[in-house]
Symmetry: C2
Subunit: 273 residues, 2 copies
DNA sequence: TTGCTCCTCACGTCACGTGAGGTGGC
DNA sequence: TTGCTCCTCACGTCACGTGAGGTGGC
């Protein structure tokens, strides 16, 4: 009868809150019906409730928790407290946003890496080719250890200069022969900025002509690709130099999984001038 | 014994995941121990599990859900699908960020409003003063209705040009005498940009000299303040003109609560030149 | 009787955290 | 015996959504 008395269904339409939400807010004591029919248990709401609902919705849309909203509504006194809460909420959300910015950046990096790997697959001829490497800036750790320990080297470099990495990890091998136990190698990441950091060296790595071969498959089978590239160099009458590079276009841990049959590794043998 | 076999506690330190989380991931089938002692039920993890854990943590930090992570890890095949998921996640997070930007903006607006109201309280002398109003840009709705219906007018204007509002709402009264039922008034918001919108008029409102009095308390008591300001104008021998303004410095719904004793309304009577 | 609106439980969500209560080996 | 690490339930969180099963008046 009264124009300012709504059943739950009507009040739901007025406020944009679902009936279930109204039940819940009632149960929580956040938004009480102005009247409850004793025989049917039906809830009825008035204009004051509608006003309160508008405030609740506004605060909820600003991602205040229901207990927070309760408190804000209950203390109609303290303006300073309200201001504090608003500022605090702003800070909280700003912090979330900066975290999300980081996530987006990380996603973009992974996406770019995946794209680059796919393009490498598409572009790879899996034949020995001659190409010229540019000079690049790198961060690296040189070690004398087992080959299989290179992961630790990459981890150290990545930890130190992680955010400046701008390309695929690679290894420089300084031994003329194959050494399993006491190899002399350097784990490197190309970086986009001169970032000094503890325990890693940063320097420009000179480029130059080289033979290149992309190897597809698990690492233990790299030997066969080395055979192919060395034979090709030999046939063309070129002298190869040190250090040899292995660029890990696609491997375990870089992207998110490891199907060794799909690993891609580019072998680069510098041509002695 | 084996350097790559960890108890839960150790593995928790290695991975940075809590023991409870490791239990949970086990239960969910997301990250299985490499071995379980049949007699004690103790879980043991190896290096492969550590690698998987690193990937899980990376994906979790990018706010993928655990079911999503499951799927990403299970299909080591489809690169295109991974790229899709990454892109989709990026879009999702970017959308959240734009929502949060809105929230921050809304919070800033409310904060600024509260601050302005507090300053108005601090600055108000609660005496009749003479001041000069600047010309401002406003969006408004003019109505012929009951005074108490002005809320609807404000709602319409706010809905139409909400994001361009840059000041307190105010009313222009065009009647020389007090009218309850069939008053001629205009509900206005100052705006910062010429925003055309349906059903509201946008125009420059000219300024000029006026008498001003800040009224503190509920609206029904405005009459007393009108008496004071009119008497003051009379004493100073000035002719007042129309329309009269009422600026709602602080009232219900503008900020989040209504303690009518603290409402602030500024009455402005233009001085006829 | 059918349809509509309303009611009250009870359970699920998401990724764990928090106990409670107990075991096994040093 | 005390301390340590590990175990398995069971329940809580946050803001509701999703039924199930039932009522009352047109």
């Amino acid at each position: 009868m009264n124009s300012s008395s709504f059943s739950v269904g009507e009040f739901s339409k007025v406020t944009g809150l679902s009936v279930k939400t109204l039940h819940f807010y009632h149960e929580q004591g956040l938004l009480l019906p102005s009247h409850i029919d004793p025989s049917s248990g039906y809830r009825y709401y008035d204009d004051a409730a509608a006003e309160r609902a508008r405030i609740i919705v506004a605060l909820r849309d600003m991602e205040f928790s229901l207990p927070d909203i309760q408190e804000i509504l209950s203390q109609a006194e303290d303006d300073a407290d309200l201001l504090n809460r608003l500022e605090l909420q702003k800070v909280r959300i700003a912090q979330r946003m900066s975290r999300e910015r980081e996530i987006v950046r990380a996603l973009e990096q992974v996406i770019a890496g995946e794209r680059a790997a796919r393009e490498a697959i598409a572009a790879a001829s899996f034949r020995v080719e001659e190409k010229t490497l540019p000079e690049i800036l790198i961060a690296s750790v040189r070690m004398r250890a087992k080959y299989s320990d290179c992961g630790k080297g990459f981890a150290r470099v990545a930890k130190a200069v992680g955010r400046y990495i701008c390309g695929k990890p690679f290894c420089l091998y300084y031994d003329a022969e194959y050494k399993e136990e006491d190899a002399d190698f350097e784990t490197c990441f190309p970086i986009r900025k001169d970032a000094r950091a503890e325990g890693v060296s940063v320097r420009a790595l000179s480029g130059g002509p080289c033979y290149s071969l992309v190897h597809r498959g698990p690492y233990p089978q790299l030997g066969r690709s080395y055979q192919r590239i060395l034979r090709a160099a030999d046939e063309r009458g070129a002298q190869v130099a040190l250090p040899t590079r292995e660029v890990y276009l696609k491997g375990p841990g870089m992207i998110f999984r490891g199907n060794p049959k799909k690993y891609l590794t580019e072998i680069q043998l510098p041509i002695a001038s």
